[in-house]
Amino acid sequence: MNQFIFGRYIKGNSFVHQLDPRTKLLTSFFFIYLVFFANSLASYGLSLAFLALSLILSKIPVGFFLKGLKPMIWLIAFTVLLQLFFTGGEPVYWQWAFLKLTGDGIRQAVFIFFRFLLIILMSTLMTLTTPPLLLADALESLMKPLKKIKVPVHDIALMLSIALRFVPTLMDETQKIMNAQKSRGVDFDEGTMFKRIKAIIPILVPLFVSAFNRADDLAIAMEARGYNGDQERTKYRKLSYQRRDVMVLVAIIAFTLALFGLRTW
């Protein structure tokens, strides 16, 4: 699991780290949305510059971002090649049966490549600089308006934060159960596909049973500490916008305007 960079958090104290998580969540979503409007070399250049600036401000070594790209390489290559050889248009440079290499195709492939790069790196930047629990907080805060249409925002946020908190605990437990089963002679790495799937049952069943027991214990402990579900609660952790969040807002507005200026219509 160690090479898996997505969803991991790197401790730091940079400009990006200190931003309000809501700012980061909204900005990166909005950025990803904007990327689909870029359709000229200049507009892609601008987007890349914006991304590069964000990456530099996070002070996270480039290596981490490259690691984040790694699992996506096949998807990127596949899509780019598809675009390269299957796009029709002008001028045609090379043709063989139904495969064509055209000027439009090359342009499209390059754009798709940059689009992938921009989207993946921006989302990696967000997850690397924001602890998951703050993301959960940000989601709760952003979903607050939905309370008006009777969405149980608090319950969703609580489930999310409990789920996040139990991820490492359950991972540890899975590892423990696996080792315990291995020590009794269950083989997870060999045999046919069918055999391997069958070998997962002695992990899944105890894991489910223990998750039920945990849920029971947790519910009792929560009740004992005065949680009854629908009371008015206060919050210990508070999110607050700072000056730097306003700076980001200004930057993203400027970026949006410039992007629409550079885009070919």
């Binding site: 540890d172 947790l218 004992a224 500490r225 005065g226 009371q231």
Partner: protein, 278 residues
């Protein structure tokens, strides 16, 4: 001294096809008392703790906390007076970090934020976990988790603290520290402590011990009285304290000991006298 906890002929079972877990249990505990509840596995100790907090409703009988009989209406008010630290710290951690978890109970009672921060800091310093406040639970040891669970309950400043084997994962030093902290706190705030334990030394610290077996009270009195049950204690799933093991060993080697209970100093004194008489 006023009565803090009163159980009147309480019966309880999880499964009506099986024998009762608590059989007609009556018990009263004064304010400011430190009571150790001991007994073998399955004797109903944990069930008793949950019945006191209203987490389980008895089949018959009544539970009275601080003068108020436990009912459907006042259950939350009573729960705010009673804090329980459960056995498995992994499963009672609600918060994503240490400080969030300690604040959880305070959030439920809609404390103001500044007051919350003050309480959380104080509670975490009590248990020596302030430096770990930003840590995630998965990265703490079992003992550290138990300290945090204790802090979470202490932050609420309850009148009664129930420890359901809450020191079972601490090392001897950590256990001594936590118990000492609790003792100071108890002296400061007239806290009532109910500790459910298999640890005989923890039971020895109590003002009063209650021995439970199959849902019935077998012994209720000062720890000395419990220890004078001698080798019978092992039947009840308890070890003898060190000093009593020593006495058994001495008697085996033909040294006569008096009938009355001796603590460590008493035994030393007695052995001195015995030695100088020779």
């Amino acid at each position: 001294m006023s009565l803090m906890i009163q159980l009147d002929h309480v019966k309880f079972t999880y499964d009506s096809a099986k024998p009762l877990i608590l059989k007609d249990l009556s018990l009263s505990i004064n304010e400011g008392e430190w009571v150790a509840i001991v007994g073998p596995n399955g004797s109903g100790k944990s069930t008793l703790a949950k019945v006191i907090d209203g987490l389980l409703t008895p089949l018959s009988g009544s539970v009275t906390i601080d003068g108020n009989s436990l009912t459907e209406e006042n259950i939350w008010e009573i729960r705010s007076k009673v804090g329980i630290v459960f056995q498995n710290p992994d499963n009672q951690f609600v918060g994503t970090t240490v400080e969030d978890d300690v604040a959880f109970g305070l959030e439920n009672q809609a404390f103001e934020r500044s007051l919350m921060q003050e309480r959380v800091e104080k509670a975490l310093k009590w248990v020596n976990m302030w430096d770990f406040r930003h840590h995630e639970p998965a990265r703490l040891s079992g003992g550290q988790k138990q300290r945090v669970a204790l802090a979470g309950v202490m932050a609420l400043a309850p009148k009664v603290i129930i420890l359901d084997e809450a020191t079972s994962m601490l090392d001897p030093l950590g256990r001594r520290e936590v118990l000492e902290t609790l003792r100071q706190l108890k002296a400061e705030k007239d806290l009532t402590v109910l500790s459910i334990t298999h640890d005989i030394d923890e039971a020895a610290l109590a003002d009063r011990t209650i021995l439970l077996k199959d849902g019935e009270i077998i012994f209720d009195g000062q720890p000395e009285g419990l220890f004078s049950l001698g080798s019978k204690l092992e039947e009840y799933g308890l070890d003898l304290p060190y000093i009593d093991q020593l006495k058994v060993a001495l008697v085996k080697r033909g040294i006569d000991l008096p009938e009355s209970y001796l603590d460590q100093e008493g035994l030393v004194e007695y052995l001195w006298k015995l030695h100088s008489r020779k």
